[in-house]
């Protein structure tokens, strides 16, 4: 009974019945008619859901046989698991879609009929196993679409609709022709039968027949360049219709392609190529698009292209077991996200990307928007991420480097334009207001629901991978904290602190070796920086805490990762959360986008490398890195490049200064001192796994060593030339990370200890300085150093922080920094890198330039009059600073409590060369007693201090003010003109300033320009003329045919 009631055939029956009944009911009661429609759609959902449930439970596919005759002699329908999955999705979307656009539907009974029939057509297309029947359902769907698109009958929609009609009729004409030719050759129309007898389809005639069928279906999937009409439709159709066109109709065609794919074995490369071309080209063009609806169109087209590619390639390599995961994942992600986005587009007024800023008036929507974008971009934890991971891994197993490269390139472009869109929505101001009151929650609730579904799907897909339980913890912790994001700042801070502390307590003991040390660095470092987060009294920081917790937890999972997937997942989560945190800055839209793009590019390099390793070793464990290294150096180089990007390596550093400069001031501390260490950790993951091979990689390591030092020098010089305080520190970070890269590349015990020591150092002093600077910036409201000056009188503690910080950076004894320098030179000399040591010395000398500039122009010299009443930094900032200072002093006094564990952690990989005599550390080349030096300096410092004090007792010492200076017998007039601060090292610029020319920036701008130009050239196809589009369709099919014939 239940089975009969829920027979899939009922979908068609009910739809047809409703089609007849609706006009009659509508005439009586439009309201009841609506209820009937909803009931029908709900019934569709129930049927598909029921079958989906039973099929998942292992039930056999439902075969529907018409006319009582077995196939192939009669039309049959099938309702298997795949069909159920697609139809459940489509029908759900249809139900919500109808609800979404009910205002428009309820006016006319015909609209309701069309809608129902439309959905039925889609259902039919998915279910049927008969080629001609497919044609009929195609036509049913198409005709309903034609009408629904032009439902509003405005001029643009009519134009778009007519182009759609032309394309649609051409496509269906070809489909019909192809079907008939196939029938002529094989005598059957049943797809399964055709597949069985496919050897009968031969010769150019057969190829042409298949080509026509395939071409028709592909054209409906909107391949580049024959897709102009589709884009017009997406842009012009009512949002609800466009949503279902993008997700429902396309799903049906994709499914149709899936069904006939077994017939097309020899076509597979061409199909894959056309899909990939579409994917890449659409994403290129998307770079130039400013209308969000059309952008969604490009995105849809691109995603469909990717799905076609994935489908074809997986079939080609007989990896059909991954089709549900890959194509299904891509599909469901595209499906839910695109539907949600089109629905959102319907709410928003205006046709500029910036108009999406209206969403900010409803936070839940902007968050939903973010999730949808993230899902489309293929970032975790959404389904696309898993799908792409699997796709890349599977393809790489068959050495398909080219395919993977272009898939990743397209994905990168997708990230660019999607997040540019998000950035505009977050940053720009729309003069129009979001009006969602009239339609109630009907229009936006489905969006939120779909976001939830996306998350759920992501989780379901994650469970199909071998991942630790905690892998997705960052996401859930973030979501959990997002729920309490409305509470007070202090409360949220405490909650976040508790979460992080609890996580640290859980995580750190479970780590060992270097990971343990990184854990001890990163998590407590994050805690210290988080303490500072409430320093801006009275300023709400929406989203900060959830993202911060997510970031820290993803760093933790990164440390705990044992598989490549776990590592990559944590890496991506870290990227996303840090990107979002950066984008919270006031002017951070562009910098954060650049940061994201570079990070994702880096992540893709890592992904590529992982895939190579997987292909070589067949293992997903991180330990496989070491085995892969035996075969080829490429994974090593790629991984290094990926981490290098994250660290802001030379040439790929262009994201770093602006991202550091524009994000919130305390978060800059986090970025610099903690997040950049993720890159260092990555290096060490690779290094520790490949210890055995490092000896054979002399050339690579030498190159890396030089690059690190050039990075150190260039960073220092550029920092010295910066006027913006945060740029200065950002360049300084680049420089300091350069040393870490070099010491890593030294690859001996001293080198690695030095790298770790420098990393700890960098964490401590950059955290310290950035927090001190955050306080300064909070008080003086300018980032230009020449606009500051003399603040030592107002902010003595901040001054001491910066003082300690710069002494540490510069490596002047007796503080911590000297240990780093000492280890660095020892390691360099031990390795025999003598000229490099000279360069390192130069770089560290240049560092003095910016360090003095930093402290002088801010704290010393002349104070500006407007800063007379500036107060000391808030306590929230001072507490972590003092903690950092205490740590620095403690490590300086007792360097062995730092070096010893580092040495022990490195020892398993590199044999230790250190000898300890009490506090005296002896290496092959030198010796250093940090404790003694500290004490000697301390005592020596007291001697002149006491002397001066004694003498000054005998003098009249008058404390004077800032203008009481010898000014060549004149008097100073304004502090601004007396403070020597602007263009501090003008002569340095004259001498070797050519080294600071922004060539890297120019290069990447060129790349960006080039990408946009490519996009602009590619979209020349889309003239808007229906005949051109029709011509392109013919051209496309022709070229496909030729390609197939040639291959």
């Amino acid at each position: 009974m239940v089975t009969e009631l829920l027979s899939p055939l009922n979908i068609i029956i009910i739809a047809l019945g409703a089609g007849f009944l609706l006009p009659l009911i509508h005439a009586r009661s439009p309201r009841f008619a609506g209820q009937v429609m909803f009931a029908s759609l709900l019934y569709f959902v129930i049927i598909s859901a029921y079958h989906f449930y039973t099929l998942i439970g292992g039930a056999p596919a439902v075969e529907i046989i018409t006319a009582g005759i077995q196939p192939p002699f009669a039309i049959n329908l099938r309702f298997g698991l795949a069909e159920a999955f697609v139809l459940l999705a489509v029908n759900t979307a249809a139900l919500f879609g109808a609800r979404y656009m009910f205002d428009e539907l309820r006016e006319h009974a015909s609209a309701m009929i069309l809608f129902i029939v439309w959905i039925m057509g889609i259902n039919g297309m998915v279910m049927t196993r008969d080629l001609f029947n497919l044609f009929i359902f195609v036509e049913i769907t198409a005709v309903s679409s034609f009408v629904l698109v032009a439902m509003r009958a405005n001029s643009i929609a009519l134009s778009a609709g007519f182009k759609y009609v032309i394309a649609g009729t051409m496509a269906s004409g070809f489909l019909l022709l192809g079907t008939m030719l196939l029938y002529y050759q094989t005598g059957t129309l049943n797809i399964d039968d055709l597949i069985i007898h496919q050897e009968m389809i031969t010769g150019p005639f057969g190829t042409a027949a298949l080509m026509l069928v395939l071409g028709a279906i592909l054209v409906e999937l909107k391949p580049f360049p024959a897709n102009g009409w589709g884009l017009d439709v997406y842009q012009a159709a009512p949002a609800g219709i466009a949503a279902l066109l993008s997700v429902g109709v396309s799903a049906a065609y994709l499914f149709a392609l899936y069904k006939i794919l077994p017939l097309l074995t020899s076509f597979l490369p061409v199909i894959a190529a056309t899909g990939l071309l579409t994917f890449v080209a659409s994403n290129f063009i998307g770079l130039r698009q400013s209308d969000p609806r059309r952008l969604l169109g490009y995105s849809s087209v691109g995603q469909l292209g990717l799905m076609v590619t994935a489908l074809a390639l997986l079939t080609k390599f007989s990896l059909t077991e991954y089709i549900p995961l890959v194509v299904g994942g891509l599909f469901i992600s595209h499906f839910l996200a695109k539907a949600g986005l089109f629905w959102l587009a319907g709410i928003i007024k205006g046709s500029e990307l910036g108009d999406w800023s209206q969403l900010r008036s409803k936070p839940v929507l902007i968050i939903a928007f973010l999730f949808l974008i993230t899902a489309l971009a293929g970032l975790p934890p959404f389904p696309t991420f898993w799908a792409k991971w699997q796709l890349v891994m599977s393809l790489m197993e068959y050495q398909q480097h080219g395919w993977v490269f272009f898939i990743l390139l397209g994905s990168l472009l997708e990230v660019v334009y999607l997040f540019r869109w998000f950035g505009k929505a977050v940053s720009s101001q729309s003069d129009k207001a979001l009006d969602i009151s009239s339609s109630g929650n009907r229009q936006w609730l489905p969006v939120v629901l779909f976001v939830g579904l996306l998350l759920a799907c992501g989780q379901v897909m994650a469970s199909s991978f071998d991942l630790p339980v905690m892998a997705l913890l960052p996401v859930y912790a973030g979501l959990l904290l997002m729920l309490i994001d409305g509470l007070g700042e202090r409360l949220k801070q405490i909650a976040s602190l508790l979460v992080i502390i609890a996580y640290s307590v859980y995580l750190i003991p479970s780590l060992d070796g270097l990971n343990w040390i990184f854990g001890l660095m990163l998590l407590p470092g994050s805690i210290l920086i988080l303490i500072a987060s409430t320093y801006q009294q009275g300023t709400a920081r929406p989203g900060f805490y959830p993202l911060f917790v997510m970031l820290v937890l993803s760093l933790g999972t990164l440390l705990a990762a044992e598989t490549m997937l776990g590592f990559f997942l944590a890496w991506e989560l870290m990227t996303v959360s840090s990107y979002l945190l950066v984008s919270l800055g006031k002017k951070a839209t562009r910098p954060s986008l650049v940061y994201l793009v570079f990070s994702i590019a880096g992540a893709f390099l890592i992904l590529f490398a992982f895939a190579l390793i997987y292909a070589q070793t067949g293992s997903m464990q991180l330990s496989a890195i070491g085995q892969a290294g035996i075969v080829s150096n490429w994974p090593f180089i790629l991984l290094l490049s990926g981490f290098f990007i994250k660290m802001g390596g030379l040439g790929v550093h262009v994201w770093l200064p602006d991202a550091y400069a524009e994000c919130d001031d305390d978060f800059t501390a986090m970025m610099s001192s903690v997040v950049s260490k993720a890159g260092v950790f990555g290096l060490f993951v690779v290094g520790t796994q490949m210890t055995a091979q490092l000896n054979d990689m002399d050339t690579i390591l030498t190159v890396v060593g030089w690059v690190g030092l050039i990075m150190a020098l260039a960073g220092a010089i550029m920092a010295a030339m910066s006027e913006d305080i945060k740029h200065l520190l950002a360049y300084s970070s680049i420089g300091q990370l350069g040393y870490i890269v070099t010491t890593f590349a030294i690859a001996n015990h001293t080198g690695w200890v030095a790298a770790m020591y420098l990393a700890v150092n960098h964490l401590l002093y950059k955290g310290l300085i950035f927090l001190a600077i955050a306080g300064v910036l909070y008080r003086v409201k300018t980032r230009y150093m020449y606009q500051m000056g003399g603040l030592i009188k107002n902010m003595p503690i901040s001054f001491i922080s910066v003082l300690i910080g710069i002494i540490t950076i510069s490596g002047v004894p007796p503080l911590l920094g000297f240990g780093g320098k000492w280890l660095l030179y020892n390691a360099l000399l031990e390795r025999g890198w003598y000229l490099q040591a000279g360069l390192a010395f130069f770089a560290s000398a240049v560092a003095f330039l910016y360090l003095f500039k930093l402290i002088h122009t801010i704290f010393l010299g002349q104070r500006k009059s407007e800063h007379e009443h500036v107060k000391e930094a808030p306590l929230a900032l001072l507490i972590p600073q003092i903690t950092f200072m205490v740590l620095i002093m403690a490590f300086s006094m007792f360097p062995n409590i730092l070096i010893q564990p580092l040495s022990d952690a490195v020892a398993p990989f590199m044999a230790s060369t250190f000898t300890w005599e009490g506090y005296l550390l002896i290496t092959e080349n030198g010796y250093w007693n940090g404790f003694l030096v500290m004490n000697i300096v301390g005592v020596l410092f007291m001697a002149p201090a006491i002397l001066l004090w004694l003498v000054s007792k005998k003098m009249k010492v008058q404390k004077v003010k800032q203008f009481n200076i010898v000014f060549a017998a004149e008097r100073p007039f304004t502090p601004a003109t007396t403070h020597y601060a602007y263009n501090f090292y003008a002569f340095y610029d004259k001498a070797i300033g050519f080294l600071t020319r922004p060539d890297a920036t120019r290069f990447w701008n060129g790349v960006s320009e080039w990408g946009h130009t490519v996009g602009a050239s590619l979209r020349r196809f889309y003239t808007g003329n229906g005949q051109t589009y029709a011509g392109l369709i013919l051209f496309y099919i022709g070229v496909m045919y030729l390609a197939v014939r040639t291959l």
Partner: protein, 217 residues
């Protein structure tokens, strides 16, 4: 004032402030407004005498050419006159100098800078008036822009007359200055502080645009 007199050296904060009327309210925040106080000689006499001997043999002259007589200072360091051998050295900054040579006429504008530099020198400090113009105006006695008697504006320890006096005369002047310093007769810095109001009144009478603090610390 009394309190400071009793307890020299330990008062970093003065009780009475300078008026600094020549400055705007904003500028007054940027200049120190403490009143200068005299310093006492060392309590032990032999220490004081020792230091006077040292001071006399280490004369640091402010390299500040105030007028035409500055041309006579340059040969002083050459091999012909070689003031170095008497412990005379040129210092480029008044903070470090102990001798101010006002060389020749001084216009009102220059006087202002002389006062500033003199006040910025750290005691004990000595002033030599070089040339007749510093004594009574010399040939510029009736110029609308040149002062006549230097010692009305800053305390002068020694005058060397002539127009211009030759470097030999200047060397002789140094010898005399040394003698006076050793004898403990050069307390110009303290005189300046004690008669501060008188000096300031004289200075302000001629310097009409007084846009600096009353005492240039």
């Amino acid at each position: 004032m009394n309190k400071q007199d009793k307890n020299p050296g330990n008062n970093r904060e003065n009780l009475i402030k300078l008026e600094n009327a020549g400055l705007t309210a904003e500028e007054q925040q940027l200049f120190c407004d403490a009143v200068p106080v005299p310093y006492e000689p060392y309590s032990l006499e032999f220490v004081e005498r020792f230091h006077n001997w040292i001071r006399a043999n280490s004369l640091w002259v402010l390299a500040f050419g105030t007028g035409c007589g500055a041309i006579e200072l340059n040969p002083l360091m050459t091999s012909r006159f070689d003031a170095n051998r008497f412990g005379v050295m040129m210092r480029p900054t008044p903070r470090q100098a102990s001798v101010l040579i006002v060389a020749g006429y001084s216009s009102v504008k220059t006087l202002k800078r002389i006062i500033r530099s003199y006040e910025q020198m750290q005691g004990p400090k000595f002033v030599i008036g070089l040339g007749i113009c510093t004594i009574n105006g010399g040939m510029y006695y009736d110029s609308y822009n040149t002062i006549n008697c230097l010692d009305r504006y800053i305390p002068v320890d020694l005058y060397i007359t002539g127009c211009m006096p030759r470097p030999e005369a200047l060397l002789a002047g140094f010898m005399e200055l040394k003698r006076k310093i050793k004898a403990g007769e050069c307390d110009g810095a303290n005189r300046y502080v004690k008669d501060f109001d008188w000096y300031k009144a004289n200075q302000k009478k001629v310097i009409k645009k007084w846009d600096m603090p009353d005492y240039n610390w």
